[in-house]
Each structure stands twice: as C-alpha cells, then as structure tokens.
Symmetry: C2
Subunit: 299 residues, 2 copies
C-alpha cells in the first residue's frame, strides 16, 4: 500500500487502499457520513473503516477530501484561494497525525466572482485535478452536476475559477415541497417535457419559468406525470444559460444526470466528454498524495 | 345591503357586507380558508360566516373571488383568457344559487406568455380592476408581491397579460429548508444586505446568486443574521430584472414587502404608487357586482 484515500462527505464515507501506480487494492464505502458521526468521534469512525489497513503499515499516510474539512467536519481546513494549481491546494492541506499515521485534509477551494461575491467548493477541487490528469488536459471547462452544481475553469493546469448553481437542491425543493410539485405525479423520464423545460429555463427567469409547470398543468397542456421532467429541464436550462463559453465540456456525471446534462449540452451545441466522478476523485488524490508524501507515493 | 363580497383563499376567509356606494357595513375574517373546510362543506362554511347577513335580505347576492373557484375550491370556475376587460371576466363568472341567493365565483385569469407557456391567477384579477378603479387609470403596470408575485399589465382598461414569479415561495424554501438557510440566524431587516442581494440577484442567475449567501457566510463576509435579508434581495432582484418596462409601478403590498419592493423599485428608478390590497379587492368586487347584478348594485 502507498496511502489511504478517503472521500468523506456529509452522508457518505468512501475509502480506498491505494497501491503503486494508483491501482486500487481494496475499498470500503458506508453511510458513515459526517452527519452520522456522534460526539465528534471522527478518528474512531476512520479507524473502524480503515483500521485493518493502517495496522499493516505504521507509516501509511491518510489523505482526505470533501466536507470532512468543513466547519461541520472533523477539522476545518481553510479554503485555498483560486487561481490555484494542485501544488497550491496541497500546500494548504491541513496536516496532522492519526494514531501515529501522517494525515492530511485537502482545503477545498474558494474564488471571488465578477460581482464581488465568494464561491466555495469542498471535494470537487480534487476531482477537477483528477479529471485533468485522467484526460491529460491543462485547459478545460468542467461541469459537476448535483445538489450544488459546479462549473469550473481549468486554465494552464490551474483551477482559475468556478461557479456554483443550487440546481439540484432547488429542483428537489420545488419538486417535493412547493405548490408546483404538489401537482406532480411521479418522476418518470420524459425527454420531450425535459427539452421543453430546458428551452423555457434558458429563456425565462427561473422563478417564472418554474411556475409554468403549474400553470401548464392547470391549463391541461402538461400532464401531471411530466411535471418532474419539465421542472428538471427548467433548472438545468437556467444553469446552462450562463455557462462558461466552451466548445467542449467535461461532464462528471452518471445515471439520469449524465443523460439530462448530456442532452442539454448537446442541445446547446457543446461537445461532451464524460469522466467518472469516483475515478476522478481517486486520480486527484493520487496526484495530491504524490505531492504531499513524495517519498511514499510515486508521481 | 347591496351584496356580500367574499375573498376566499386557501388559508383565509374574508367577507364584507357592502352597502350602496361601496361602503362597508360589516365584515368578518377567519382562518376558515378552503383547506380548513372538511368534506366539501363550503356552503355550510359560508352560512356560518355570513348567514346572519343573508337572513336579512332574501335577494342579497354573494360575489366570491380567489382560490374558491379553483379545482381545490368550492366549484371550479374556468380561467378567463387575457386580454380581458372586467366585463369579459364577469361574463365568465360561475353563477349559481346559495340558499336561494344569487351567487357568483369570479373565474381568475390566464394568459399565454411570449414563450408559449401558460400563466394563471385567481383573485388578483379582481384586485387589479379594483386598483384601476381606485386610481382612475386605464393603463398601468401593477405588482402584487407574495408567495407567487404577479406583474400585470393593464392596457386601455383591459388586463393585457401578466407574469408570475414564485418569489415568496422560493424565498421561504431557501430560507427555511436549504443548505443556504441552514447558516442563517433570524430574519432581522438589514437594508444594506438586502440591497447587496438585490444587485446580485439582478445580475446573476438565481440559483447561483442565492448560493453567494452561503459562500459569503463561510468566507466571513456576510453575518449569519444578514443572510435572510440578503436572500430576500436576491429573490426580489431576480424578479425585478425582468419586470415590464414602466416609469411607474402600482405596488399592492404592506409591511416588510412594501418596504422591500418599494426600496427595490426606487433602486431601479421606478416611481411607486401604493394601493392597499384589501381596498383593491373590495373596489374590484363592487365593480364586478355592478356588472353582474346591475339591478342591485349601482355602477
């Protein structure tokens, strides 16, 4: 083993025992997200998951990324300010010891947008550098859809800046808790309704475009079973309307999100290059570990 | 008494005993909104509230507006299609009898927006015609802020069209149930934070601008006690960014909404003319009743 890679978020815990050349020797995944850890017993939770691996090699380092470094996580690792390359991010890692093992928590990243407001990410920064490594690119626009979708610009190997859209979270709130979602039946896919929502979301302000799902349903032009797909289109359309200029977008998504963002990007004429999020996480952690512990992890 | 005016919504019941010249002889207001009426006993609920008035005059008409005419209300009154003047709206009223009294439910209004989607309102149409009567205008842009804010265009005395923004509902969802609101403490007013949110909401897409409240708070540039005001600014800014062109806006709001929309409209250089929503409802119902029952209600 070279090191242990941990992706520790609010609801999920994932760890990999990494060998030379970035190959995965073993892995664990559980629901022991940060919220499930009681009384601040993060070290005990880590030992429960990875203690066997650690026992085998007293010098084995542990690299962690994700919300584990947030204020609500194990130890707060202050954000690294963009533009930042991987070396700058790892230089800001929070380093400490766990049961005698060298450990580090990556700091996440922050940037200031053109309008004078901050943006933040935790965990996606390692995925972005990992995707760049996997694809062998130094310049890219990378989209990571989700609860809080990220649009990142990689320029000359540096994370130049990024923009968060609360697309997934607002979709879930509207679908499950609003007067628009109250008319919806199920969440079946409906590519035509999705595309219709997409063009509406790209053209009209979100708070108006979303209401069309209710109005169209009441007027009888949108079936209750298509409201969910239409709303998804509205939300993704609003996000895509203000995306960074790019002929190609690196899309880190699987399942329905991969399908929908793929279709949406195709609709606006962008080429899509898919990267698996877990692969990107591991690849980024190997790159970061090689910087942090060059004597243990080959670059 | 000339007629009984009822404004019956999902959560509130309001009724006025109206005399000649539109003066209010008596009024009742209660929590017996439509949702509180069990087993479809709407007539019994109306009699409980207004039975004494009805008993005094066997021919007394009852005019109702609001969600009472929706699918989830007493009787569904299909929407009147815009452009529509008051006569067109009253012509589409659903007329029936309640305990021998002539009764009517106003139909609400619907329109098709420039993007081919429907919009709907119930209850606001009577407020819009009422406001026009109170102000003596035939052309106006009228804003009715709330859960679902309405921006209506009155042209030559006709309701030409309107646009709904889910501003209040999305604000409440973000404030009370999102990861942005989770960082907020209280809902104190903060004019500077509100104005900051306003300019951000006017410039950036809603799902991104709202996230700035979280990012700024995590970076330490927005106090937790100012998040609510900032978010309110973002939501209202997003609404105002796409308002109809107008030098003057008729604003139907009271309290904090009147303050915030007033400040926001002032910020964008629009003149504001306030109209009280209850006054507008009654004035609109007097105009509608005069059309429906000219033998009883003087125009």
């Amino acid at each position: 083993m070279d090191f242990i890679a941990v992706d520790w978020g609010s609801t999920r815990f994932r760890a990999w025992s990494m060998g030379a050349d970035g190959d995965v020797l073993d892995s664990v995944e559980s629901d022991t997200g940060l919220k499930a850890v009681e009384g601040g017993r993060f070290e005990a939770a880590l030992m429960t998951a990875c203690g066997d691996w650690l026992a085998r090699d007293p010098g084995l380092p542990v690299l962690m990324s994700g919300m584990v470094g947030s204020r609500a996580g194990w130890k707060e690792a202050p954000y690294c300010l963009c533009p930042a390359d991987l070396a700058a991010v790892t230089a800001d890692a929070l380093r400490f010891e766990v049961a005698g093992h060298p450990a580090a928590i990556l700091p996440g990243a922050t940037c200031d947008d053109a309008l004078g407001h901050a943006d933040v990410m935790r965990g996606e920064e390692v995925q972005i550098f990992g995707a760049a490594g996997l694809l062998g690119v130094e310049d890219a626009v990378i989209c990571i859809p989700g609860t809080h979708s990220k649009w990142a610009r990689l320029e000359g190997g540096r994370l130049a800046g990024f923009e968060t859209h609360m697309t997934g979270e607002i979709f879930a709130l509207l679908r499950n808790q609003s007067l628009v979602g109250a008319l919806a039946e199920g969440d079946a896919d409906d590519p035509a309704a999705f595309r219709d929502g997409l063009t509406h979301g790209m053209a009209a302000p979100l708070a108006h475009a979303a209401f069309a799902a209710r109005a169209d349903a009441l007027r009888g032009t949108l079936p209750a079973t298509s409201i969910s797909a239409f709303l998804s289109g509205v939300l993704i359309g609003a996000e895509l309307a203000r995306r960074p200029e790019a002929d190609e977008v690196v899309l880190m998504a699987t399942g329905i999100l991969a399908e929908r963002y793929g279709a949406a990007l195709d609709h606006v004429g962008a080429q899509v290059r898919f990267v698996d999020a877990k692969d990107a996480t591991r690849a980024g952690q190997v790159r970061a570990a090689a910087t942090l512990w060059p004597e243990r992890v080959p670059a």
